[in-house]
Assembly symmetry: C2
Homo-oligomer: 217 residues x 2
């Protein structure tokens, strides 16, 4: 076990450090974010820091960096208050990665990367037809950090488009069965193997494997 301290991290070659720090914090919540601008041009971008904020009302957050490639997505979200999260399924992960290329504003990543736009009534932002767990959100809050230019966008879940057989009896959405991909660092992708679901933990009580998960498969 090696101890790498702060001064060693700061002395790392820049790209080495970026890769090291980006890959150390764990597997990531990967989503393609769909949005549309005032001229009707669509945008699809890969985000890997999506997190749960609340279940009632249902809120999700995501980390954004407004000075980079993510500027268009953020502008679009601000413009019409709507955006979508679309899971990456394993037979499409290379196309999903390709959406992170810097296309010019008029070129939609949907067409350029081989994804199909899908719309529902009364909701402006495009979903990804090829995904099987899709979330339509209404923009709620934009939160800046003091430390650097990173911001957080929070939205309220307004629509969920999902294959019904992915939802378990207790509401659990089976992302492994959906063939959803996770990521780490900036460029590594993974499928998953379920271990199990575990019972609510209590002091002095052995955790149990939940049957509800087995029933489901």
């Amino acid at each position: 076990m090696r101890v790498i301290n702060s001064s060693e991290i700061l002395q790392m070659e820049q790209r080495f450090r970026t890769t090291f720090i980006n890959s150390i914090s764990g597997f990531k919540s990967l989503q393609m974010v769909g949005s549309i601008n005032s001229e009707g041009n669509t945008n699809l971008a890969l985000f890997s820091s999506i997190f749960h904020v609340g279940a009632n009302p249902p809120y999700l957050g995501m980390v954004v960096r407004p000075d980079g490639n993510e500027h268009e997505t953020i502008q679009n979200i601000m413009f019409n208050n709507a955006y979508t999260l679309n899971n990456v399924i394993s037979n499409r992960y290379k196309e999903a990665h390709q959406t992170s290329a810097r296309y010019s504003a008029g070129d939609s990543e949907f067409a350029a990367c081989g994804f199909t736009e899908e719309y529902i009534d009364g909701f402006a932002a495009p979903f990804v037809k090829e995904s099987n767990v899709k979330i339509g959100l209404e923009f709620k809050e934009y939160l800046p950090f003091l430390l650097n230019k990173t911001k957080i966008v929070i939205g309220e879940i307004k629509h969920v488009l999902i294959d019904e057989d992915l939802i378990g009896k207790d509401g659990f959405v089976d992302l492994n069965r959906a063939d959803s991909v996770s990521s780490s660092g900036l460029d590594a992708y993974y499928t998953t193997n379920p271990l199990t679901r575990l019972s609510y933990a209590k002091p002095g009580k052995q955790v149990e494997e939940l049957n509800v998960y087995r029933e489901h498969r």
Copy 2:
């Protein structure tokens, strides 16, 4: 493909909705957070919303809910500005889940759940001996949401304790090789299968599988 709208989500039975919303947003960045209070009592708690904030300086964020089980961890972080993130390896995921039980303040989850405290000079918070990718952080920022009681804690990475053979030539930390576990929802755990690492995406250029990943394995 079924469309579930906002009014249907709000009418779901409460536990069903909590499980549904918690499991829909993707695989999670699972970490055990180690901390210590003013009396020297240690705490170990499971957090699943860890995210990258910056590489230079190296910052990580995590989502916390101060009115729940996470109150002690937050108090400890505020008290001595130090905390640790420790990966969950697959042969310990049940013990890691058990740390989410509500132990009384004097009972350390380290002892109660079968984990061993590990310290390095000049850093107050305990690491988990059984983990193989561990991060020591200095508390930097506490950020409230306007929408609900959720907050974000941001820390700067000061120490990394890691098996050296998990770090690739380009700095990439191989969490799959580390046998790190991911999670979804509140109680589901997964191991991973690597697909591949992909080259930096450019418009009009086919993405390539990175050799650096193969060399590493």
